[in-house]
Symmetry: C2
Subunit: 211 residues, 2 copies
């Protein structure tokens, strides 16, 4: 008897919505976004496919909500960057700290973040949220920090603060996705250390010169 889903069950909307989000996350831990279909997510919830549309406009809306859940963690990086004072030694420490936190977020939520990044290529709305709500936001934060450090004489004046910020942020995003964004491949502690060390080296050498 295939398709026997048992008797109907009625949940509170909020509960059903959470179940769908959880199912999507679980799905993306196993398979990439390109294979994620509405049906494929909904079978994991015990609900029918049309039920999905009672809670989400489409799968891109779903992805956007997943991003909201993680977004908060990355927003925390904003003020870490901005809060640091502009005196020599501290600037580097603040940077390393923020990089470590960012890397950890990618270790924890790699596949989901990867899915969001992929979905940005599929849908204009997701691209909007991802690019302007996350990436661009980080670029602005990092850029203003670089700008301050340049004015304070800690960082070299040849750097264009905003462009340098954009290049470094994009590097960090793609490099971390490359390292931690594949489903079914938990990185070892050693791998994580090498990845983090590489990012630190490039950021520090670019902004503050040799260690």
């Amino acid at each position: 008897m295939s398709g026997d889903r048992g008797p109907r069950r009625r949940r509170r909307p909020e509960e059903a919505e959470r179940a769908i989000l959880a199912a999507a996350r679980a799905f993306l831990e196993e398979r990439p976004f390109r294979e994620m279909t509405v049906e494929g997510v909904m079978v994991r919830t015990g609900l029918s496919r049309p039920a999905f549309y009672a809670y989400f406009r489409d799968r891109y809306d779903l992805i956007t909500r997943l991003l909201e859940g993680i977004g908060g963690l990355l927003f925390a990086l904003d003020w870490r960057w901005l809060s640091g004072g502009a005196d020599g030694g501290e600037a580097r420490e603040v940077l390393v700290d923020a990089l470590r936190a960012g890397s950890q977020t990618f270790v924890d939520y790699g596949p989901v973040l990867r899915a969001i990044a992929d979905a940005a290529g599929y849908d204009a709305r997701v691209e909007e949220v991802y690019r302007y709500g996350l990436i661009e936001r980080l670029v602005v934060a990092v850029g203003s920090r670089i700008s301050r450090d340049v004015e304070a004489g800690i960082s070299p004046g040849e750097l264009d603060p905003e462009q340098t910020a954009r290049a470094l942020v994009l590097m960090t995003e793609r490099y971390l996705l490359d390292a931690f964004g594949r489903p079914e491949r938990r990185p070892s502690r050693r791998e994580r250390a090498v990845v983090f060390g590489t990012l630190e080296e490039i950021w520090v050498r670019t902004l503050y010169g040799r260690a």
Copy 2:
């Protein structure tokens, strides 16, 4: 009279194939890959949609062929990197040279390269060709160059050659796509100079220290 495509016309296979590739390129100069449908490409050729499948397996096969057309240009960067001697001053010049050539390729073929990068998120075969046939190839080339420079004492020993290469290559790819990959936005000479300067600054400071 919609749909009137006039009398059938018969072309030589090679000619039809070139027409399709050209139509795809033209399409991607105007609209992103996510909107590219087989029908949308074929109307520009005067052929019917099914004709497409006589020449390409699907639109990802088409994208792969487009990449082949540009790939040669980027392969040239391989040996630029490797051919350079390992004496101090020259290493930097070779790097700057290769960066400039790479940037120019993105200026010339930005939207197509962007489409290929997007398509890599859609299809496993395209991802394979893009990641392993292009990105990874550049990573290896750059990595072995860095390795040589580290051994020669030109670059700092803290760098992990392969990982540093990967981070820098990914940065360059995404940053150039960001700058030159949007359809309908030809970059000004000034913009190009800023983008190129930023890349140069990060690469040089990372690998060879302050200018």
